[in-house]
């Protein structure tokens, strides 16, 4: 095989891979602009279904609930996840550290059904024992924090682990106590990781169906739950429109996360080159 055909083949394989990943999404996006009520027959371009979507009160309120939950989840998960990451990377050795680390990250691999079910059972028994079980949005929020926490912890602790410890030591050496060191040095430096952890938690919470379905009450139907139930009544192009919007939101969030992480790095590299040249 000549070098040329070889290159050609690798391009073809790459193309096939991307097609496999994205053609379904593209089809969905294209059909969201379909005039026809039938999801599979193209009859002309229109924004009709986007209009319908905006008039669907139930859908909108579900979307609002979802965004609220995702926002609260991401915020709480970042705070708790950062605390867990600090314990893992800064507390030195303590008995049970390995176990603690394993337990924190276990939800990454645990089936969602099990997480959902166990949280539901916990809420139920809480209700029976003390008569005080979180309901509706609060219950989904708590459930989402539990599973997104693991992701945030992983993102933040990998950043903390690569953070030069002597930065924190230097700050302490210069007269800052541990709390000041955290807020003046550690936090600003790991901020990009916190932002991307927050966005990750936000998107995870936004598109969760399984766990939400277990713990949701009557007045807390999230957007994915609503989509799921309406699809069971038959495909509507409205759902395509909704899905397209969601993809847009998630893609923008992911892009912002990526951009924040890489902007600093890129600028730093450029500056470093300049400093080297100048000398």
């Amino acid at each position: 095989m000549s070098g040329r055909t070889q290159r050609w083949t690798s391009w073809a394989i790459l193309g096939l891979g991307f097609a496999f990943l994205y053609v379904p999404v593209l089809i969905l996006m294209v059909y969201s602009f379909n005039e026809s009520r039938l999801a599979t027959v193209w009859s002309g371009f229109s924004f009709k279904w986007y209009g319908e979507l905006l008039r669907d009160k139930q859908m909108l309120s579900a979307a609002w609930i979802s965004i609220k939950i995702a926002f609260l989840t991401a915020s709480a998960a970042v705070v708790l996840g950062t605390m867990a990451a600090l314990v893992m990377t800064r507390m030195g050795k303590f008995p049970g550290k390995t176990l603690f680390g394993a337990l924190i990250t276990a939800p990454l691999v645990m089936p969602e059904v099990i997480i959902g079910l166990s949280i539901l059972l916990m809420f139920v028994s809480l209700g029976q024992m003390v008569g005080l079980a979180p309901k509706g949005i609060a219950s989904i929020w708590i459930a989402h924090v539990t599973f997104t926490l693991a992701f945030v912890t992983v993102v933040v602790s990998s950043r903390l682990a690569e953070l030069d410890k002597s930065l924190e030591e230097a700050a302490m050496d210069l007269g800052a106590n541990r709390i000041k060191v955290f807020f003046l040095i550690t936090l600003p430096i790991i901020a990009p990781a916190l932002v991307s952890g927050w966005l990750l938690a936000f998107t995870l919470s936004l598109d969760d169906v399984v766990i939400s379905s277990f713990v949701a009450g009557p007045n807390s139907t999230t957007l994915p739950m609503k989509v799921f139930s309406s699809v069971r009544l038959g495909l509507s192009p409205k759902i395509n429109a909704l899905a397209t919007l969601m993809i847009l939101v998630v893609a923008v969030a992911a892009f912002i996360g990526w951009w924040i992480m890489h902007r600093d790095e890129k600028r730093r590299k450029l500056d470093m080159q300049m400093a080297a040249k100048e000398k």
Binding site: D164, L167, E169, A170, D173, A176, N177, D271, A275, A276
Partner: protein
């Protein structure tokens, strides 16, 4: 060994400025990591205003000892006193000690000015007082033009200056330097070594530095503590450590040395002779040593203390005949590797200026190496 040793201070006038003899006292400090002894019952005193180097190979515990001073490691046992105040229970942020880290540890999200101001801010000084002090520090390290830059916009040497300014801004009682030249390339190193010493001396701050580079310790420090596996082997001025090593380890660690083993044959008050199985002639030392007849000792002599020539020296001792096996050219001087008939090797330095003036020596020439009766030292440990 009562040879006069000159004071090792870099600046002769400074000898009088050096204050209290035990400004910093390290008493029986011991540090264990899970049973592994990194620093072993070490006792040291550092004078006020002195630049003191902890010198040793990798893993000898010098960084650990320095980190104990900074408060980043808690000693397993022992006490640290600075200016008669006990340091042991003070956290790093309450010690009047500042450290320049090997990686410089400049805060990447702050400008040069903010970095230098950080410590002053923690002390709650007034804004304009801080600004003035920052300017002052920038002037001292000649970085006034770079105050608004971020650390990653600076070259390695510039970063080092900022790190130094930051650690000096609070006028600490003690400055700690961890491998100060570790991150610089060779050319910059020798320049910065002198500059650092100048700045530290100008401010008169007491300084303990850690290095594995003997040349760096020799250039920068007033006194050196030579460390080996957690213990101090010798403390002295660079001269003393180089000229009067007290152990084989010290002799071999600093510079290069010719070492032969033997036994004391005659032990007199004003001279000693040593018989070595490696040498045909006796070794004659021109002064008494603390030893006894028959004692196993090593004789160490620096290459630059050896003379080399084609004719046999007239003295009856302190000489050996061999052939030139190798010549290493170092610009200002050359090192001749001479092999005796029994395989023992000697290194002799020869200034190249001298080389052209005298007879020319080359590979496989038969030569004599010889040395004076006070050229070497006798080592018993």
């Amino acid at each position: 060994m009562a040879a006069e040793v000159s004071s090792g201070t870099k600046d002769p006038a400074r000898a009088d400025k050096v204050g209290a003899d035990d400004y910093l006292r390290i008493v029986d400090i011991r540090k264990e990591f899970d049973g592994f002894v990194a620093v072993d019952d070490t006792t040291l005193s550092v004078r006020q205003g002195e630049i003191f180097a902890l010198l040793g190979g990798s893993g000898c515990g010098k960084s650990t000892l320095l980190r104990c001073l900074g408060g980043f490691e808690k000693p397993t046992a022992g006490k640290i006193y600075l200016d008669d105040q006990e340091m042991n229970d003070l956290p790093p942020y309450e010690r009047p000690i500042n450290m320049m880290f090997q990686s410089y540890a400049l805060f990447p999200h702050m400008t040069v000015e903010q970095n230098i101001a950080f410590g002053l801010k923690q002390d709650g000084h007034k804004r304009d007082a801080i600004a003035r002090r920052v300017d002052e520090m920038l002037t001292i390290v000649q970085m006034t033009k770079f105050g608004k830059r971020k650390p990653h916009q600076l070259s390695g040497g510039q970063q080092q200056r900022v790190a130094l300014a930051r650690s000096l801004a609070k006028s600490p009682k003690l400055l700690l330097l961890d491998e100060p030249m570790g991150a610089l390339d060779k050319k910059l190193r020798s320049q910065m070594q002198l500059e650092l010493v100048n700045i530290i001396e100008k401010l008169g701050v007491t300084c303990v530095m850690v290095t594995h580079d003997q040349e760096e310790a020799m250039t920068m420090a007033h006194r050196i503590a030579l460390m080996d596996s957690g213990r101090i082997r010798q403390v002295g001025t660079p001269d003393e450590i180089y000229e009067q090593p007290t152990s084989r380890f010290a002799a071999e660690f600093i510079g290069s040395v010719n070492m032969v083993n033997g036994r004391i044959e005659e032990d007199m008050a004003d001279y000693v002779t040593i018989r070595s199985p490696k040498l045909e002639h006796l070794i004659h030392i021109g002064h008494g040593v603390s030893g006894f007849e028959g004692q196993e000792v090593s004789f160490a002599v620096r290459p630059e203390k050896l003379s080399i020539g084609k004719t046999e020296p007239t003295q009856p001792h302190n000489k050996a005949e061999g052939i030139i096996e190798d010549i290493a050219y170092f610009g200002s001087h050359s090192v001749y590797h001479v092999r005796l008939a029994n395989g023992t090797k000697f290194m002799a330095n020869f200034a190249n200026m001298q080389r052209w003036a005298s007879e020319s020596l080359t590979w496989n020439d038969k030569v004599w190496v010889s040395w004076g009766e006070n050229a070497g030292v006798v080592l018993t440990s």
